[in-house]
Symmetry: C2
Subunit: 331 residues, 2 copies
């Protein structure tokens, strides 16, 4: 049986309230001597506060829920780690949920988190548009990452990457290298995410006076497997000298497909990624990509959320992160 505040109170010959005050440093009016006695008893008995009980009364858990599609995806791995670090610095811990991009899972997780009394939620990008009614119903402050989201009272912040700009940079970089027929690989064609990126890609071409061959645009998923498969399909049907991928995993898949087809990167075909996951520079052939400040975005999301939670004025913020080109060995 873990020791409780009562155990300490009994041994110290004081009431539980006094112990509580001391242990919570609300001890302005507590005698020096009592205070010391309580602290040393706490240490001696190895007291650990029961957060459950505390949360029940304070209605604060100091826990933040994080919902991502899949932590196996390196982009989210990094994001989650960044959030966790940032949260810890601010006195919070995190509970992680993988939705696998399935709306029902996501909803189940949100309810779960609510039931567990999290103070706030970081809800991260998948293609599904989140259930606004649910979110409103829960009333838990949340920050939305990389997603279009309806305005809600409990929306603490949005943190988005300038995907349009990122895709523009990527395509412009490739065009600058002399490429004229550039393939475009991205996630679901329905998502705003992909739409924006495609706009950026097109804009870069327009500025350079180059037409975009629709044949070269392939949307599906942000996963490795799609990159692999789409590249093979592309190779079978048309010509191109570069691939502008909208995720690093897509780029990895594309690279494998190119190599399997006997093509060298970047000599026969250049490859640009997107995300700049921490693996990108560590690969055998370091990946040229678009940096989107993953770590920073996690930190920013948590800071915005905690500011919203702790600050009395509940300022909502809308953050947009700029991207940049990282030149390495594949393009």
């Amino acid at each position: 049986m873990a020791t409780t505040i009562k155990d300490i109170a009994r041994r110290a010959g004081v009431s539980a309230a006094t112990v509580s005050k001391v242990l919570n440093r609300k001890d302005a009016f507590i005698g020096e001597e009592t205070r010391n006695r309580i602290w040393s008893l706490a240490r001696e008995l190895n007291y650990t506060p029961n957060s459950i009980a505390r949360s029940l009364v304070t209605r604060r858990s100091n826990v933040i829920g994080i919902v991502v599609p899949d932590i196996l995806n390196p982009y989210f791995t990094e994001l989650v780690r960044a959030c966790d670090d940032a949260a810890r610095l601010r006195g919070y811990t995190t509970i992680l949920c993988n939705s696998d991009g399935i709306a029902e899972n996501e909803e189940a997780h949100l309810s779960f988190l609510a039931g567990h009394g999290v103070d706030g939620i970081v809800l991260s990008a998948s293609d599904v548009v989140p259930n606004a009614d649910l979110l409103r119903g829960l009333g838990i402050p949340f920050v939305s990452m990389d997603r279009e989201i309806p305005m809600l009272d409990c929306l603490a912040a949005t943190v988005d990457t300038d995907c349009r700009g990122g895709a523009f940079q990527s395509a412009s970089y490739l065009i600058g290298k002399g490429h004229r027929r550039i393939a475009f690989l991205s996630g679901s064609a329905e998502s705003s995410n992909t739409r924006l990126r495609l706009e950026g890609f097109r804009e870069a071409h327009r500025r350079a006076g180059i037409a975009v061959d629709p044949e070269l645009v392939r949307c599906g998923e942000f996963q490795h497997s799609f990159g692999h498969q789409a590249t093979l399909a592309l190779l079978a049907g048309t010509r191109f000298s570069a691939i502008c991928c909208m995720s690093d995993m897509l780029a990895l898949g594309a690279t494998v497909a190119l190599r399997e087809s006997g093509l060298r990167v970047p000599d026969d075909c250049a490859v640009m990624g997107f995300d700049n996951i921490y693996l990108a520079p560590l690969l055998d052939r370091p990946l040229s990509t678009i940096d989107r400040r993953i770590f920073e975005s996690g930190r920013i999301a948590i800071d915005a959320l905690v500011d919203f939670l702790d600050g009395p004025e509940r300022q909502r913020s809308a953050i947009v992160l700029e991207t940049s080109v990282v030149e390495r060995k594949t393009a």
Copy 2:
């Protein structure tokens, strides 16, 4: 304000106790009609049980804590995802903690988890030997992964990989391919983990009647950066035709160093990894490695833990996972 059991009780014209019974399906003696009324009210009012309050009385949280060194390390990413999936299947959720392999962090996390009333803990490998007194003091059932651990009442299971066997397989495979001077890269020389692996490596050589040149054995960390740096050092000082790495990240680092030095893999130097992280087959040059059933080990750990928690007999188990060679393109 979220709706509570009382709200439902009031509207249904029954007591909170009755509502609780129905919602928890302990409704054998509750009238058909009351039952339906309660369920539909719950749905209508969008009732979410307050797990905090429930945990306080039941002394069960249905939460399992997971402590790993660093979720950014792909091996742990996978392990964590596996644990999370398995836990969910068994009706539990997980809270993740990154210790960064620092003993104080680990201890802080363990206390934190205890305070949050987790029912059990999965404690995973770093080099530090865990604080047995702390663990005993907490009294929370836990499973230890890949670590030597003192016997404790609350030790639900140990799940280890046969590292000695794995290293033996790796070295034997390389020897079978005709290599005679094989470098060995591993984590901290002090850890039992590395010691065991080195034994396996030596044993393979002994059986083949080959001497191990101490010069070729380099221990440091399981990280990419050490693989890179150690390989460069090796290259500068001696000759070898293969590297037997004790983690896939080490192998990645080694590969990069080889390529930077103008050497081709596997022609000029073969590289074997260890772990078989999900990225291994996805790389530009798919990595030959030792599979250690990461996903399975997570599932097994959770199952053992939950069996221990739920089962009345509290059977302790000691699981050892066998490894196998995965031949791909680097060796």
